[in-house]
Subunit: 407 residues, 2 copies
C-alpha cells in the first residue's frame, strides 16, 4: 500500500464533468489499495473572476484581502471534489490549507511555507478517507489566510508529500511530461522517463515552463520524488528525482529555447573596479531579474574600456534601459544598446560533467546552420547561447538532432 | 462613541456597485466616530450557483462538504467589502466566522452557536479598524467549517452584538422595517417605531417573515436591541427590544395573514385518551410542523366522538394526510378531510393582556364582513383565526382598520 499525493491544476477541475474525471482517476488508484491525498487548484476562470471583482473596487487591493478572496477558489474545488468521490462511493474529506496544517509566513500573496503539521491528514487517511487538500493556500501562525503565489498548488503537493513522507507525488498537468525539447518546435522531441532535479531546474530557468522552479527546489531540498504527467490520458509521465549514476550516460537531457529574453549592452565602459557592481545593484533595486551577464574587451581605441552585456525578461527591458541611462553620467559609458529580437538556446544535462567537447559540438552545429552566437554562458550542467530570435526554431532543431538524434 | 453591528443581506451586496453602497453607508457611521462590525451574507445568486454545482455531482451531497462549499460565498463578500472600504480610505479587516471566534456544534448545514470568543474582533476594533465578519458560518471546536442554516447571517449579527455588548445591532434588508400589516395588502399600514421581542416572534410565526424566529429568540435571550431597516434609504427602521411599560398602551401592534397554511381534519375520532398524542407524535416523527390544533365535540350521533383539526405548512399537506391515513385502522376515525384554500389571520400585541374585548372585536369585525371563522387559537399576546384563503385581503384590511384605524 503506497501513499500517493496527486495534484490537479485548474484546467483539470475546470467544471463538474472534469471534477468527475479526477474522481474516477483517484478511484482507480484507490482500487489498487493506495492511500491518496489529492491537492486541487481553483477551477479555471474562477480566480480571474475574483480578481476582476476586486479590480472593480480598488486598483491595488490589499494583499491580505486578496488572499482572503482568492482562497475561496480552492475551497470551492475541494468540497466539489469530495462530493464527486462520494458519488463513486468513496469516503473523502476536504481540508483547507489551514486545516491541513500548512503554516506560512505572513507575506500575503506570496507566502512561504514555514512548516506543515498534517495531523488531521494522517487521522483522516488512517480512518480510510481520501483527503482532498486546497492547494495554493495556508495560514500564518496567527490564523490569517495566506496564498503561496504562482505555482502554489504544485508547492502544496510537494510540501505535503515531504511532510507525509509519501511514496510518490504526481503532478497532473496538460502535457504528458518533460520532453527533450518543445514538441511544437521539434517534431522529433521525445518524452523523458526521468530527469534529475538540477536538470529540471535548469530547463525551467531556460524557459521550459512545466513547473515553477520553487516547487522543484523544494522537492530537491526534501528529496521528494515526483512525476509530471497528463490528466488527459493514462500515459506514464516523467519522474523527477535525485541524480543517479546512470543519468550521466546521457550527455544532454534536453534543449530549450527561451523567447522571453532581451539584451542590453553598455558600450565603452571605463575599465575600473566597481562598475559592474554599481550596474547590477541598481537593476536589483529596481526589482529587475538579470539572467546572463557577459563582459568583454571593447574594440574601441583610447582609454581602456570594456563592453558589458546582460539579458533580462522582455517585459523588464524598458525599465532596465531607463535604469542604465540614469547611470550614464556616474559611470561614463559611451552608449547603451538594447535588442529584444533575441532568444536564449540552452542545452542541459548532468552528463556534461563527464563528457568533453559538448560546448564545441553545440557551437559547431550552430555554425553549420550559419547561426551567429551573440553571448555565451555556461554552468556545470548547462550551456546557454543568445542568438537571433528568428533563428530559434532552426537552432533548436539542429542542436536537438546533433545531441539527441532524429527519432 | 457607540459600537454598532450592521448586517447586510445578499441583495445588499449583490454586485460590486452595491458593495460600494454598503461601504459608503458604513463610512457615514464611522465619520460619526462609531466603532463598526459589519456582517455580510453571500452575494445574491452565489449560493444558488454553488448549490447547482453540488447537485451536478450528487443528489444529496454530504452536509459537511456543503458547509465547506457554501462558506466560500460569505468569505468572498467579506474580502470585497474590506476592499470597498479601503477604497474610501477606511481601515478594514475581514474575518471568517471561524476567525471571528464563532464556535458552533457539529450539526452541519444547521449548526447552533455554542459560544463566541471575539478576541480578534476586539483587537482589530481597538486598533481602529472596521471589522467585516462573514455571516452564516462558524467552526466546531475541532476546526470543521459549519453553517448556521436559513437566516444564519442575522443570527451571526445578533450573536456578535451580544458577545461584543454592542450598543446597537442594525439588520439591513429590503423593507423599511416592521409594519402594522403587509403594505401590499393594506395600503394604510404604518411602520412601527418599536416592537417587543415577543410581538416580533408572534408576527414572524404568523407569516410576517422579516426575520427568522431563531434570530429574534436569540436577541430576546441575550437582550440585544436591534433595528430592522432598509439598505436602500436612510429612513429610521423599527427597533426591536424588550417590552416596556408604555408598549401596553397600544392594544394591537400588527395584523398578519399567513397564506402558507393548510388544514387537516379528522372527523369522528373516538373520544378516548391517547388519541391526540398518537396523532401528533406520528406527525412529529415525520418532521411535520403542526401550528394550530383545535378539538371539538363531533356533531355525529352514536358513539361519543370528536373532530380534531390542525394546520400545517402547505408543502407538508400531502405528507400529513398520508401519515394520518396510515393511522386510520389504529385510531378508527370516520374520515380525514384536508383543505389548502385557507389562511391564518393573526393580531398581535402585548396590550391584549391589559385590554379586554379584543377577541370579541376581532370576531365582530369579521362577522360584519361576512367572513366565516374556521378555527380559533389564542396566546397571551396573539389571536389567530383560520379563514377562507380568498377572504384574506379583505379580512386583513377590515381588522387593521378596526384596531389600527385608517391613516
Amino acid at each position: 500500500m503506497a501513499l500517493i499525493v496527486q495534484k490537479f491544476g485548474g484546467t483539470s477541475v475546470g467544471n463538474t464533468d472534469r471534477i468527475k474525471n479526477v474522481a474516477r482517476r483517484v478511484a482507480k488508484y484507490r482500487a489498487n489499495g493506495d492511500q491518496l491525498v489529492v491537492v486541487v487548484s481553483a477551477m479555471s476562470g474562477v480566480t480571474d473572476g475574483l480578481i476582476r471583482m476586486a479590480a472593480e473596487l480598488m486598483p491595488l487591493p490589499s494583499e491580505r484581502e486578496m488572499d482572503m478572496l482568492l482562497a475561496t477558489g480552492e475551497q470551492t474545488t475541494i468540497a466539489l471534489a469530495a462530493m464527486a468521490l462520494h458519488a463513486l462511493g468513496i469516503p473523502a474529506v476536504s481540508l483547507t490549507g489551514a486545516q491541513a496544517g500548512i503554516v506560512t509566513d505572513g507575506v500575503h500573496t506570496k507566502a512561504k511555507i514555514k512548516n506543515i503539521t498534517p495531523k488531521q491528514v494522517h487521522a483522516l487517511l488512517d480512518s480510510g478517507n481520501v483527503v482532498i487538500v486546497a492547494g495554493f493556500q495556508g495560514q500564518t501562525s496567527e490564523g490569517a489566510i495566506t496564498t503561496l503565489g504562482r505555482g502554489g498548488s504544485d508547492l502544496t503537493a510537494i510540501a505535503l508529500a515531504a511532510a507525509l513522507k509519501a511514496d510518490l507525488c504526481q503532478i497532473y498537468t496538460d502535457v504528458d511530461g518533460v520532453y527533450t525539447a518543445d514538441p511544437r518546435l521539434v517534431p522529433g522531441a521525445i518524452k523523458l522517463a526521468e530527469i534529475s532535479y538540477d536538470e529540471m531546474l535548469e530547463l525551467a530557468s531556460s524557459g521550459a515552463k512545466v513547473m515553477q522552479s520553487r516547487s522543484v527546489e523544494f522537492a530537491k531540498k526534501f528529496k521528494v520524488v515526483f512525476e509530471v504527467r497528463s490528466s488527459l490520458n493514462d500515459n506514464p509521465g516523467t519522474i523527477v528525482k535525485e541524480e543517479t549514476a546512470n543519468m550521466e550516460d546521457v550527455v544532454i537531457r534536453g534543449v530549450s529555447f527561451d523567447k522571453n529574453q532581451a539584451k542590453v549592452s553598455l558600450i565603452g565602459v571605463p575599465d575600473k573596479p566597481g562598475i559592474a557592481a554599481k550596474v547590477f545593484k541598481s537593476l536589483a533595486e529596481a526589482s529587475i531579474n538579470v539572467d546572463m551577464i557577459v563582459q568583454n574587451i571593447s574594440h574601441g581605441s583610447g582609454m581602456p574600456a570594456t563592453d558589458l552585456s546582460f539579458t533580462v525578461d522582455k517585459p523588464d527591458l524598458l525599465k532596465a534601459t531607463q535604469v542604465i541611462a540614469s547611470l550614464r553620467q556616474e559611470i561614463g559609458f559611451a552608449e547603451v544598446l538594447s535588442d529584444e529580437k533575441i532568444g536564449k538556446l540552452s542545452i542541459v544535462g548532468v552528463g556534461m560533467r563527464s563528457h568533453s567537447g559538448v560546448a564545441a559540438k553545440m557551437f559547431e552545429t550552430l555554425a553549420r546552420e550559419a547561426i551567429n552566437i551573440d553571448m555565451i554562458s555556461t554552468s556545470e550542467i548547462k550551456i546557454s547561447v543568445v542568438i537571433d530570435l528568428v533563428k530559434g526554431e532552426l537552432a533548436t532543431r539542429a542542436v536537438h538532432a546533433a545531441f539527441l538524434g532524429p527519432h
